[in-house]
């Protein structure tokens, strides 16, 4: 097998918690705590978890909006994890990001044309006429009229703004895009339009996606493989179909059963977890999930389970001391 496009190795992002009179940091928020996985060319990895699980932090580390505390991010074999801003610049065009709220990621004082031409200016590509041509092409690619170039972001609806965000991300023909909840803020009837667009662009341009979301049905639709995160750890990693057919971690099972399906015939038996997600500033000892796990034992309270392959040899991995098939 050829080398994967992105290899994340033992990545950790610990934020210092400032407190006390002198704002010294004695404690750390362990937002991402030792995460490893790969993303192949043209592949979509889904990253699912609840708020505070570290999925967005992980995404920001990979595009190097954050400098991780430790671990490596290999892009085409090159470690980006500690590169300076200047050394990072040539990689930025290959590694882009789309955000949940395009309004916050688009400069409100620039026209859409200016916003989309900016990446070409930053990387010193083409003259103004060439850039205008490119902008028209991008708008067409994401399904917006070329007249959109002269208007401002606020003049567009949520779905159209996300199209602008996508156009900007694909401007320099990147190889991978980190998508952080790209459709969660959109109306239901608009979500499927944007998802279709993202899948079309992936096929056309051979893009890899890291697709971060909390909606499992959406993630399953777009992903090849899915990682389930909990308190900074990947607790299960599997082929998308496999994860739903044979979820092995108790957290994954609860998460899948908790999604209300739009079908009254399927009012399922929900597995309702007790309590809340613990704080990543005071993570529990042992397995991060043991405080909410109905099957936790002393072993779970003492020893952190490692992510290990399941017997099914499909690349399915789970971090549970008591891994077993359920279905």
């Amino acid at each position: 097998m050829s080398q994967p496009l992105i290899q994340v190795e033992n990545l950790a992002m610990h934020f210092p918690v400032k407190e006390g009179l002198f704002q010294r940091s004695r404690r750390f928020c362990r937002a991402v705590d030792g995460v490893s996985f790969t993303v192949g060319a043209g592949e979509t990895i889904g990253l699912v978890g609840e708020s505070g699980c570290g999925k967005s932090t992980l995404g920001k580390c990979i595009v190097r909006l954050l400098r991780p505390t430790s671990g490596r991010i290999l892009f085409d074999g090159e470690d980006l994890s500690q590169l300076s801003a200047r050394k990072m610049k040539p990689y930025r065009r290959h590694l882009q990001m789309i955000f949940q709220d395009p309004v916050e990621s688009l400069n409100a004082r620039h026209t859409v044309g200016e916003i989309l031409a900016e990446p070409f200016a930053i990387h010193d590509i083409g003259d103004p006429a060439h850039r205008r041509e490119k902008v028209r092409g991008l708008l067409d690619k994401v399904g917006l009229p070329s007249s959109a170039a002269d208007r401002y972001p606020f003049e567009f609806s949520g779905g159209q703004r996300q199209r602008i965000g996508i156009a900007r991300a694909i401007a320099l023909e990147p190889r991978a895009i980190v998508c952080d909840e790209p459709v969660s803020a959109l109306d239901v009837s608009i979500q499927s339009q944007v998802l279709n667009l993202m899948l079309d662009l992936q096929r056309e341009m051979g893009l890899s996606y890291l697709f971060i979301a909390h909606n499992l049905a959406v993630v399953k639709h777009v992903s090849d493989r899915i990682a389930i995160m909990y308190l900074g750890h990947i607790v299960e990693f599997a082929d998308a179909e496999n994860l739903y057919r044979d979820p092995r971690h108790p957290y994954t099972r609860a998460l899948i059963s908790a999604i209300p399906e739009p079908d009254p015939r399927r009012r399922s038996e929900r597995i309702v977890l007790k309590g809340d997600v613990p704080s990543p500033i005071h993570p529990p000892s042992g397995c991060p999930f043991h405080t909410r796990c109905p099957y936790a034992t002393d072993h779970c309270r003492q020893e952190v389970p490692r992510l290990r392959p399941t017997p099914d040899t499909t690349g399915h991995e789970v971090a549970c001391h008591y891994d077993r098939p359920w279905n």
């Binding site: 609840e50 109306d187 279709n196 998460l255 977890l273």
Partner: protein
């Protein structure tokens, strides 16, 4: 489905019209909406942004933003009175008393500088007792009922000391404090994580079984509707597109908009990376709604007659639809 007994109806909304005075003129946010909520049952109102679902709820509770929002027509019949014309002071006694309310963001419903116990006690003091000690005891009981651990300690805490899920439990405790006949819940779980949403939905279900209140549940999430509701009202552009029992609407939606919504959401059973069905165009803003059927310019079945407002017709005794073409639509193929 039992036949509708008039005595069973808790809230009867008839031809409600609500408008907003804006710089762009008078906008009609709710345009002739009628539905009835029955005792002990859950009615869902579903729709996308700007469809009028939240304004409908605010109109019922008479909490429209002032001075822009006005009820221009129709009635909201509750306990033999029309809430739409009730004097503000009488309405205040009903809110939090016979009608409970739960909002999306619990932090906005709670006072950040008062303890949980004080805020809950206030409701009991306003509606039930004048004895502070008794009110506090009732508060502790109520917190226990909504599953808050060590309620006798929690009453002394402030909202910021609780997690999002716990805060929403406190809001539910406040809404149910006076054993209301109906609870209006506007996106009660939208701000919460999936596993916490499951906890809150289960709690609401259990409390309904125990206390027998009716629930009006407003959400954009068809999954929550399918899970929680007996009946559903689908709104689009300020009007009701379709209404009826949940099982009927999900199995055989009669309105092209409902069909479009149901077939465009990816499900766990949808083939991966396949093209999803879409509803073309965008969700219209109130200022640019078309005359006649609100959905016509996104509708694949549009004909000339759609320039006139379609009447509400019966698909079955309980199931109504407002579409000129509902009889002509091909059979609906539901998801696998």
């Amino acid at each position: 489905m039992p036949a509708t007994d008039p005595n069973d109806i808790v809230i009867d909304v008839r031809d409600l019209v609500t408008t907003f005075d804006t710089d762009a003129g008078v906008l009609t946010a709710v345009d002739g909406v009628s539905f009835a909520v029955r005792r002990g049952r859950t009615l869902g109102i579903v729709g996308e942004s700007g469809c009028g679902k939240s304004v409908t709820a605010l109109s019922i509770m008479r909490l429209l933003p002032q001075p822009m929002g006005k009820i221009r027509g129709g009635e909201v019949l509750f306990d033999g009175r029309n809430l739409a014309t009730l004097p503000p002071e009488e309405m205040r006694r009903i809110r939090g008393g016979r009608i409970g309310m739960i909002f999306q963001e619990p932090m906005t419903a709670l006072n950040p500088v008062q303890t949980i116990g004080r805020q809950l006690s206030e409701i009991f003091l306003l509606h039930i007792t004048s004895d502070r000690k008794q009110a506090l005891e009732m508060s502790i009981d109520m917190l226990r009922k909504v599953g808050i651990p060590s309620p006798e300690i929690r009453v002394g805490e402030y909202p910021h000391q609780l997690s999002g899920g716990m805060r929403q439990r406190v809001v539910i405790a406040m809404a149910l404090a006076c054993k209301p006949a109906v609870v209006i819940a506007d996106e009660p779980t939208t701000a919460l994580d999936v596993t916490i949403q499951a906890q809150i939905l289960e709690l609401m279900h259990a409390l309904q079984e125990e206390m027998g209140m009716a629930i009006i549940l407003i959400t954009h999430d068809l999954g929550v509707i399918a899970d929680m509701c007996d009946d559903v009202v689908v709104m689009y552009g300020g009007r009701i597109a379709e209404a009826g029992p949940v099982d009927d609407i999900f199995a055989a939606p009669a309105h092209p908009y409902t069909r479009g919504l149901l077939s465009s959401i990816p499900r766990l059973t949808t083939p991966r990376k396949s093209r999803l069905n879409v509803i073309d165009g965008m969700v219209p803003s109130l200022a640019e709604l078309p005359v006649g059927c609100r959905f016509q310019n996104r509708c694949p079945f549009r004909i000339d007659a759609c320039a006139r407002q379609p009447p509400r017709e019966n698909v079955s005794p309980q199931h109504t639809v407002a579409c000129h073409r509902w009889r002509d639509l091909p059979p609906f193929v539901s998801a696998p």
